[in-house]
Structures are given as structure tokens and as C-alpha cells.
Symmetry: C2
Subunit: 168 residues, 2 copies
């Protein structure tokens, strides 16, 4: 199964694609969409165009996005919502099933604790996926939510279908 993770934002949208072969996770590609248009409408078009290209290259079957996180101010939340909405719609249009994970759960899944900082997440992702270089923070967060999905959801599926031993 190929999984795309998304870390939404109108200025910088991180994405990461992995393949889950049973319990083995293989890194395929990651990147950050840095928008250049001055206003949000143009940025949404840039995001949508760039995401379409990523989806065309990898044809993921499942998508993982951080659940809405409400510590931010309303203005930041609204802007984030624009990018998140456009990314989710693009994934839906590609027939990709979408899963959401709270930020603390993502940090716990990849770094062992819910309070891990961005650098720790990036380092753990580099180690987990055997990347040569430390990924940029937005792409690391996107890979982290994809890895979380692979570990939590795919493991659940495996447990239900009896494909792996039932150990913690």
C-alpha cells in the first residue's frame, strides 16, 4: 500500500510518500510546495497543481493528514483550513481514503512521546526511513503522519486479518 502524508499550509505545504510492505516502510519521495502567488486564491491553485503531479507520480491509495489542531489563532486556523480543504479535496478526487491523526499521536508514534519537537521528529523520520539527509521540517511532518498511519491503521488491519502476530 502506498500512503501519502500531508502537512498543510498556504505558504509551505509538506508532503511525503511511503510504501508499507507488511511492517516494512519504504520511503518513496517527499517535498514541500512553496507557494509564490501573493494572495490565497492563487496559492490554492499552485497547491492543487503541485499535488496533482505528486499523485500522478505515485498513485497512493491512502492519505494521512494531521487532525485539526486548535492552539493557533483564528486567522492562522482559517488560512490553514484553506490549504487543508484543497488538499483533502484533491485526494478525495483521486479516490484516496483519508485518515486523520492528532498531532500528539503522530509525535508519539514516530518519536515515542507526544511532546517531541520538530527537530526530533525530523531526526526520527530520517532514521526510520533511512534517509541520507534530514528532511525539511514540513516534509518531515508529512512523512511522520504517513508513518503514523502505516503503524497504527495498517497494523490494525493486519491484526484483524490475522496477518501478523498479536503482540503489543
Amino acid at each position: 500500500m502506498i500512503i501519502i502524508g500531508i502537512d498543510p499550509g498556504t505558504l509551505h505545504l509538506g508532503w511525503g510518500v511511503i510504501r508499507a510492505d507488511g511492517t516494512r516502510l519504504v520511503h518513496l519521495e517527499h517535498g514541500v510546495i512553496h507557494t509564490k502567488e501573493p494572495a490565497i486564491p492563487g496559492r490554492l491553485v499552485e497547491i492543487d497543481d503541485a499535488l496533482q503531479q505528486v499523485l500522478a507520480r505515485h498513485a497512493p491509495g491512502e492519505g494521512a493528514v494531521e487532525a485539526l489542531f486548535f492552539a493557533k489563532d483564528p486567522q492562522a486556523a482559517a488560512k490553514l483550513g484553506h490549504a487543508r480543504g484543497v488538499a483533502i479535496l484533491r485526494l478525495m478526487r483521486a479516490g484516496i481514503e483519508i485518515f486523520e491523526y492528532p498531532p500528539a499521536r503522530v509525535k508519539r508514534a514516530v518519536a515515542g512521546r507526544g511532546q517531541a519537537d520538530k527537530h526530533q521528529v525530523a531526526m526520527m523520520i530520517q532514521a526510520t526511513l533511512a534517509l541520507r539527509a534530514l528532511p525539511p521540517a514540513d516534509a518531515a511532518d508529512a512523512l511522520a503522519v504517513a508513518v503514523t498511519h502505516a503503524r497504527i491503521h495498517r497494523m490494525d488491519v493486519a491484526l484483524r486479518t490475522g496477518r501478523v502476530a498479536r503482540t503489543r
Copy 2:
């Protein structure tokens, strides 16, 4: 020029289409997209599908949306952002130029004062566009931002091109 106004929301998205013949405003159609899917991803698809149908029927050339309004809490702002982002992207994809107006400016333009309530806006829109029935609040707000755009922006254009007398 045909103008579509949008009042975004993930549960209820209001829209209204008018034609501006010089300074005369003609009502074409309005409605509210009531989404039925339980989760946001499905609702965004419903909104996008329904908006495409409206755009296909009327082929508007300009779109008007209320500017981001930050009195709401971050959760409400983020959800609104999802619907607003998807609607803006759909309009951009249809080649529609997008204009934003602050809520107080819309109320002032249609009801004469920035503190007008929803019912007053709906009544003024009913009178302005000679509608038989009071439009539902979300559609009235969408028509209101379209009327605001017609009055402010189209009037500016007319003044610049010398098509109307330069009064006040």
C-alpha cells in the same frame, strides 16, 4: 457581467448569482448547498460538485466572497476555511476573478450600516433584487456580497472608463 457571491460554510454554503447591466442589478438564481456527508472530506466533495453545476448554468465572470472574519473561534475558523478554500479554488479553475469584501462593508453597501443583522440584510436583498420571497439567510448573505461587488467594484470600473457620470 454575471457575478456569483459565496457565503462559505462546510454544513451550509450560500450562493447567489446576479447580472449587472450598468447600474441595474438583475437576480438570476440563489441557493444553499446543505451537505449531508458526516465528515469534512465528503462535504468538500459535495460542495465542489454542487458549485460546478451552478457555474455551468450561469458562467459568471466575477466572484465575490466575504473576507476572512476573525471573531469566530479557531475551530469554526478552520472549518470555514476548508469550505472557503474549496469554493475559491473551484471559481479560480473556472477562470473567475475573485474579490473579497469585509462583512461590515457588505452590510453597509446593502443595508446602509455595518451593524445590520441577518434579517435586515435579507430584507434589503429581497427589496433590491425584487424577489418574491425572503431568501434563506445563507443565500441572502451570498447575494449581498455579490451586490456589494456590483456596487463598489463595477462602479469603480464604470468611473474609470467614463461610462457613468462622476457624482459624489
